[in-house]
């Protein structure tokens, strides 16, 4: 009896304690195999089993090419076997939707445009002043991913669980857009981001979020389209419809153990970065926008790769490369990976100059005040400033590298550069100091926002896209769109008509923002224009590439590269981009963005005419003074010598 009681007690103790012990074991911190380097610079060979995400959202059975149900592999469960996925998703490329992520310096927004409706709006999940939250524009994360996921590496909004009624069903069919590690780290030339059957098409056209990573790799093909499936389609119970998404793996890619060799590169090849980060500047003569006729960044031509400067560890907190970054980034290399960090480090006692072979600039003859007023990029980056800021294109704004891109110079969205403006600063997570103003002039890309909005006590909030489309489609349907993909010209009277229609639809005060102007209705329903409205100001973000060689920097010839009364740096024109028809196209001078008085800049530039005379007078005066000093100095010496000589006699 006593023995039975003891045994029962021990048994009960075991039953109650076992889960706690087991739980502790499961909670152990343990870095995964690939989370920390052992120091070897050799690339580990990635011969891996592939795993999908199963219907329960968990890790599925190992993929074999001849299985009954061939699923796309999941990077979370394949790469995540050795690299902690939840750590990686905190990285800069994936954390836009994370409200805890500090926004840092203003960057390129996602630009939604509709030339017919007069919309060109900068969107961002980051709290960059001048951009708008996609939700305010009526874009759910799912919709945002479908529109812009073509140039996203996955994660971010692509992994947010849908809550909108219309999106829940679609997300079950399409899946979530996981982080696609291969977007950056696949060294194989078969990685297809922008081809007709590549990543971008599968994300933005076919809604094949779950299949996108697999479709992009070199050893698999995906056919079919989730967008063609109804909301009741179950991807884990295919019906054999030829339109449903289907994966075909190349059998020869699998070894005897069912593993696949992946050409994984720790140092991301430039080509991978270029897919999302290419720029085109439509400088004089269209031919100059062609890749063969323009030079790449001088750093790349000197042998560096993008990731030599833009580094990160497993946390993927990639260095963006601006001078204030160390204030907001935990990356230990942030301070030493800006322009100054490599080229002119202040050092901590141990010499740090010439990292990566960076030449230490001499800046012969350059007054030091320039380093207080200008960023390095002002003289060294972007296209050489011309009379007018040029139309520019970027991969993300103009979906470069994907099929059927409109290659016309003026295809929307209209991004103008270089615009030499005072840097707005770096946004930090401190309510007392929301932005660190660098106070320096830097080259920027600029976009003039255009969108329909509600107006409440001077607060301008975009009207949701579907509301605008529904209300205004008929108002503008008779307007003709140009072939070059630019704005559909909107007459001013149409704006008034549209405002009235929109006001009825939303039952609020409405406005239209375009070209630096805010159009609204007064009490009598007549249209009022408020020029230079703050909500209509151009959104600008600093540019840093392409860096020109030192021999092509501003000021290399003479001070008048910038300080000339007709010099483009101060007096170049920036077009005020607007769909609204106007008799005279408006422009703004560069100096208006620099917090410098126009007359002051002009007068200073004009004074350089007298600089040679200054030098001549100064040299002559110094020579004369020197001769006087020498003459009387020698006389004094002679007097002393005479005194000594007379005393000797």
């Amino acid at each position: 009896m006593r023995r039975e009681l003891i045994l029962t007690f021990v048994l009960l103790l075991t039953v109650f304690l076992a889960p706690a012990v087991g739980e502790e074991a499961a909670e152990g911190p343990g870095k995964l195999l690939g989370d920390e380097s052992d120091g070897s610079r050799a690339h580990p060979t990635h011969v891996l089993p592939l795993f999908p995400e199963n219907e329960d959202g968990e890790k599925g059975e190992q993929i074999t090419p001849d299985a009954d149900l061939v699923l796309p592999f999941s990077t979370k469960y394949t790469c995540g076997e050795c690299h902690t996925y939840d750590v990686i998703k905190q990285g800069w490329h994936f954390n836009a939707v994370d409200s805890n992520a500090v926004p840092g310096r203003l960057g390129q927004p996602w630009i939604y445009f509709d030339g017919k409706l007069g919309i060109q709006i900068p969107l961002s999940y980051r709290a960059w002043p001048g951009t708008y939250q996609p939700a305010d524009f009526g874009m759910t994360e799912f919709r945002f991913t479908q529109v812009f996921g073509r140039h996203m590496p996955g994660g971010g909004p692509g992994e947010v669980t849908a809550t909108d009624v219309d999106d829940i069903g679609r997300q079950f069919v399409a899946g979530k857009l996981e982080i696609n590690c291969l977007t950056c780290h696949n060294g194989h030339h078969g990685q297809d981001q922008g081809g007709v059957n590549g990543y971008a098409i599968h994300v933005s056209v076919r809604q094949n979020f779950r299949w996108a990573a697999t479709a992009s790799c070199e050893f698999a093909q995906v056919k079919g389209s989730a967008s063609a499936m109804t909301d009741t389609y179950d991807p884990y119970m295919p019906m054999g419809d030829e339109q449903e998404p289907t994966v075909i793996y190349q059998p020869e890619a699998f070894n005897a153990d069912g593993e696949v060799l992946l050409d994984i590169r720790r140092e991301v090849p430039n080509q991978r970065c270029y897919y999302c980060h290419s720029n085109v500047y439509h400088t004089e003569g269209h031919g100059e926008s062609e890749k063969w006729s323009t030079d790449e960044d001088v750093h790349l031509k000197s042998g560096l790769t993008c990731v030599d400067c833009h580094r990160n560890g497993m946390k993927h907190d990639i260095i963006r490369g601006y001078s204030q970054e160390s204030r907001v980034s935990d990356n230990p290399l942030a301070a030493t990976s800006s322009c100054e960090g490599c080229h002119v480090p202040e050092g901590s006692g141990v010499p740090e100059a010439a990292r990566l072979g960076a030449p230490v600039p001499q800046h012969l003859g350059l007054p030091v005040v320039h380093f207080e007023k200008l960023t390095c990029t002002a003289c060294h980056s972007g296209p050489w400033p011309s009379e007018q800021a040029v139309y520019s294109k970027t991969s993300r704004a103009h979906r470069l590298g994907t099929p059927n891109v409109n290659k016309a110079e003026k295809a929307l969205p209209h991004v103008l550069s270089p615009v030499f403006a005072l840097e707005a600063g770096t946004v930090v997570d401190d309510p007392n100091e929301p932005a660190l103003h660098s106070g320096k002039i830097a080259p920027h890309k600029a976009v003039w926002p255009a969108f329909w909005a509600t107006l409440a006590e001077d607060k301008v909030t975009p009207v949701a896209l579907d509301v605008v489309e529904k209300a205004l489609k008929k108002v503008f349907e008779e307007l003709e769109s140009p072939a070059d993909g630019s704005w559909t010209p909107i007459p001013t009277e149409k704006i008034g008509e549209a405002l009235n229609v929109l006001a009825e639809a939303v039952e609020e005060k409405v406005a239209y923002v375009a070209g630096g102007t805010l159009y609204r209705l007064d009490e009598d329903g007549a249209m009022v224009e408020e020029a230079d409205h703050p909500a209509a100001a151009a959104y600008m973000w600093p540019l840093a590439h392409n860096v020109r060689p030192a021999a092509q920097s501003l000021g290399i010839r003479y001070c008048t590269d910038c300080h000339a009364t007709d010099g483009p740096f101060f007096f170049g024109k920036v077009a005020v981009d607007s769909p609204v028809v106007s008799d005279t196209p408006r422009t703004v001078e560069q100096v208006a963005f620099q917090d410098i008085g126009r007359f002051g800049a002009w007068a200073f530039a004009a004074s350089f005419v007298f600089r040679p005379w200054f030098k001549i007078v100064a040299i002559g005066s110094a020579a004369l003074i020197g001769i006087v000093l020498l003459l009387y100095g020698l006389k004094a010496l002679g007097a002393v010598a005479r005194v000594l000589a007379e005393q000797n006699q």
Binding site: P367, V368, R611, F614, G620, I625, L629, A636
Partner: protein, 216 residues
């Protein structure tokens, strides 16, 4: 550091001059405005009224005006705002600078002769020669005119300091010096200008006092 040192040095100079004036002032006291005009006009009195004398006086007046403008435009942003000179102040500074340089050169040529040191103005050299060399040097018989010696020394110091003051900026305007050396020559210009300003203030004060005493 430059800001602090400049403020202290300039204040000390002005206080020193005021104290010297109070302690050594002779003759009937005048009102500040009348006295100031009288003193300033003493500077313009030239014993030899000739074309050359008038030109010399004009150059001196122009030099003083330039000095005042340069001192204000140069020291104001540094001492008051703690930043480098730029914008309109820089333009004004750069406009008056070559004029001042030219005036200094002319003053150097025209005033050097009258500012030569004579034997009786250097009694300490005679003393030194007697003590060190055992040479038979006549003992000084006249009292040492301290103010005059200091006045002449200030003149030569102004002329001497004018060289680094001008050359430091001149050299920076050519493609010769890199950033580190640009910082160095800028520092040379700033510190030289501080000493220069103090010496000019002392020289001007002594000039007025000596003219009042009829010594020059």
């Amino acid at each position: 550091m430059f800001q602090t040192v400049s403020i202290i040095a300039l204040l000390a100079t002005l206080i020193g001059i005021a104290a010297h004036w109070v302690m050594t002032s002779t003759g009937p006291r005048q009102g500040i405005v009348v006295g100031g005009v009288h003193v300033f006009s003493l500077l313009l009195i030239e014993q030899k009224s000739s074309l050359l004398g008038a030109l010399k006086k004009l150059v001196y007046l122009l030099a003083i005006v330039c000095f005042v403008v340069l001192a204000i435009t140069g020291f104001w942003p540094t001492l008051v705002r703690g930043e480098h000179i730029s914008g309109y102040l820089l333009m004004i500074h750069a406009t008056f600078a070559p004029i001042f340089a030219l005036c200094l050169a002319i003053l150097a040529v025209t005033w050097a002769g009258s500012n030569r040191f004579t034997a009786e103005e250097c009694p300490w050299i005679q003393r030194l020669l007697r003590q060190v060399t055992r040479l038979r040097v006549a003992a000084e018989t006249r009292p040492w005119r301290c103010s005059l010696v200091v006045y002449k020394a200030a003149f030569w110091l102004v002329i001497f300091l004018a060289l680094p003051l001008i050359l430091s900026i001149l050299v920076s305007m050519f493609h010769l010096l890199g950033t580190e050396w640009q910082h160095f020559v800028l520092a040379v210009h700033r510190w030289t200008s501080l000493v220069f300003a103090i010496v000019v203030i002392v020289h001007t004060y002594l000039a007025m006092r000596l003219r009042m005493a009829g010594a020059v």
